[in-house]
């Protein structure tokens, strides 16, 4: 009823605009990649082709021109993807003309990736290469048990670092989860603004990798487990809050309504109507996160977050592969054990 019929013509214009933009970008990409990789690298065999900003610019012009012509035909990826080109029941979308543009993009991307990542099977199987690999693998399979104790202590540090980061994050995320739940917050403008602000903050802090946080904090508080813990803490608050609030958003309104009807106070409504519905999913997700954070903590150690990752980094820097082998075994064992324990616990409380 609410003006959806009036929207229809405007809607098509928007869809066409979107299709056009997508077509321009697609053709520009095809032009640029064809020139840089197919022409310069493969046909001319240039080792280090020059880059000028004019190249993407001209590609863009070519894209614009091609898209402008082809938008009137069925050769338009945008028109296909945004549903302007209708697929009849007896047709298959993957055989349509626009689909072939898609295949071309994928093929070009594949070739480009091959060149960009300098995949060289020759190097992979070269005698020196194989010899190096053999040396490392021999060392890795002959771990130096003398550092077992050292590695174990570092591992314990890592596990506790992950644990304390999650543990401290839980109460914070628990409270924030309510404020980030749409169904509790969209009642009035003030709360809805809080909701939107919180969401924005969390999306930003979650999109920054814990690795980056660890680098920031290792400068701030110095290299060590504390920096790692802070990095994981920031990340867990954001991801737990998001998960918790989604859990709250998906609960059944019935019990809340029933508890409200008894004349309960809002705090009692939350405690009796909301909390019983969310504890188990919360617990399950939190254990799952802890498991992930132990793994993350290992990686974070590599950039100065302390723990076993840090140790691994030191030995790797000195090319002491027997020691590295020992640490890899310890890490593998922990990851396996955590994985097993966490899935067992989650299974049990379901």
């Amino acid at each position: 009823m609410s003006g959806q019929n009036y929207k229809a013509p405007e809607h098509i214009a928007i869809t066409y605009t979107k299709s056009f933009v997508l077509d321009v970008l697609t053709w520009a990409y095809i032009a640029l990649v064809s020139y840089k990789i197919i022409w310069q690298k493969i046909v001319l065999k240039e080792r280090y082709p020059d880059f000028f900003w004019s190249q993407p610019l001209y590609s863009f012009y070519i894209g614009l021109a091609l898209a402008f012509i082809l938008i009137f035909t069925n050769f338009s990826l945008g028109k296909g993807l945004f549903g302007i080109i209708k697929t009849k029941d007896d047709e298959v979308a993957t055989k349509k003309p626009f689909a072939y543009i898609g295949y071309l993009v994928i093929l070009l991307t594949f070739i480009t990736s091959y060149y960009v990542s300098q995949i060289s099977l020759k190097e992979f199987f070269s005698p020196q290469g194989l010899e190096g690999a053999q040396r490392i693998f021999t060392a890795l399979f002959n771990p130096n048990w003398a550092i077992f104790e050292e590695g174990l202590f570092a591992a314990v540090e890592t596990i506790y670092m992950a644990f304390i980061a999650t543990a401290v994050a839980i109460p914070v995320a628990f409270v924030l989860g309510f404020f980030a739940a749409r169904n509790l917050m969209n009642g009035n403008k003030v709360t809805f603004t809080i909701y939107n602000l919180l969401r924005a903050c969390f999306n930003i802090s979650r999109s920054i990798e814990p690795l980056v946080w660890a680098i920031i904090f290792s400068v701030w508080v110095g290299i060590g487990p504390f920096a790692g813990m802070l990095a994981l803490f920031i990340h867990s608050v954001a991801s737990l809050t998001k998960q918790y609030s989604e859990q709250i958003e998906s609960i059944d309104d019935g019990p809340i309504e029933a508890i409200t009807a008894t004349g309960a106070h809002p705090i009692q409504i939350v405690w009796y109507g909301v909390v019983p519905q969310i504890v188990l999913p919360y617990l399950s997700y939190t254990i799952y996160r802890w498991d992930i954070y132990v793994r993350m903590a290992t990686i974070i150690g590599l950039v100065g977050g302390g723990g076993i990752g840090n140790l691994l980094m030191q030995y790797q820097g000195q090319a002491r592969w027997n020691e590295v082998g020992m640490l890899v075994i310890i890490i593998a064992a922990i990851v396996w054990a955590m994985d097993w324990a966490s899935s067992r616990i989650r299974e049990a409380i379901k």
Binding site: P255, A258, A261, T262, G263, H265, P276
Partner: protein, 252 residues
């Protein structure tokens, strides 16, 4: 005891769900509200205990207009009105006893209720109501593991725990099979007759209405179109309320 005067409800999306609805409910009555689905029955009940805010008109509960109440006064009003629902709305994963005790939240301090500290007297009362609804021996069972009819009886006990003057029932038997429906209706009747609680109940089946209602009001498109004895609903009224094509089905 309950006087509804020119009640209007307009939802935020502009839907006018109740239009100038007026009727009275005397103390001790078993009133049944009928009407097609979407006619505004649930909306009406939710206006009475203010689960929905009212857009216009008055609802006098023992002489006090409840439509403008806020905060503590609103909660005290709600405490005097029990409610049961089509889907029972029990607290998941809690026992029957815990569910019934939650009916007493309005009289329990916030701190005590969070810690689950109920008085011995409260517990005795809860046990009494569990016995009244025929669930003695099941108080330690998880409520969500019971059958539909049993869950609805737990919901009745929870409402009784409030010591309500009025019990609102929103299609309490709509998701139950016929035999269980009758048993739940019998318990509502018992609550009405033996404990003297006024009951306002939304129902779908006319056969149940004839059996349990003292009086009937009918809604159609948010307008009150009928008010009278269940025995007075003849063929003519039936077609007016439910539409020309409706056929009466009975449930035994």
């Amino acid at each position: 005891m309950l006087e509804i005067k020119n009640l209007n409800k307009v939802y935020p999306n502009g839907l006018h769900a109740l239009k100038n609805v007026s009727f009275n409910v005397p103390q001790g009555e078993f009133l049944v509200v009928i009407g097609l689905s979407g006619s505004g029955k649930s909306t009406m009940l939710r206006c009475v205990n203010r689960l929905h805010d009212v857009s216009g008109g008055e609802i006098l509960f023992n002489g006090v207009d409840t439509t403008k109440l806020k905060g503590k006064a609103l909660r005290e009003m709600r405490a005097n009105i029990g409610m049961i629902f089509q889907h029972f709305n029990l607290i998941p994963r809690k026992t029957v006893l815990q569910n019934v005790l939650s009916g007493n939240l309005s009289r329990t301090g916030i701190f005590k209720s969070i810690l689950g500290m109920y008085t011995k007297e409260d517990k005795e009362r809860a046990m009494k109501y569990i016995e009244i609804v025929g669930l003695k021996g099941k108080e330690k069972n998880r409520a969500d593991a019971l059958s539909g009819g049993q869950q609805q009886r737990v919901a009745i006990a929870r409402a009784l725990m409030q010591n309500p003057k009025i019990l609102l029932a929103d299609e309490p038997v709509a998701s139950l099979d016929p035999a269980t429906s009758h048993s739940v209706m019998q318990y509502l009747k018992k609550v009405n007759e033996e404990l003297g609680v006024t009951v306002i109940c939304n129902l779908h089946f006319l056969s149940l209405v004839r059996q349990y209602a003292h009086r009937v009001v009918a809604l159609k498109g948010g307008v009150l179109i009928y008010e009278g004895k269940p025995s007075e609903i003849n063929e003519q009224w039936f077609k007016t309320i439910y539409g020309e094509d409706a056929v009466e089905v009975t449930i035994n």
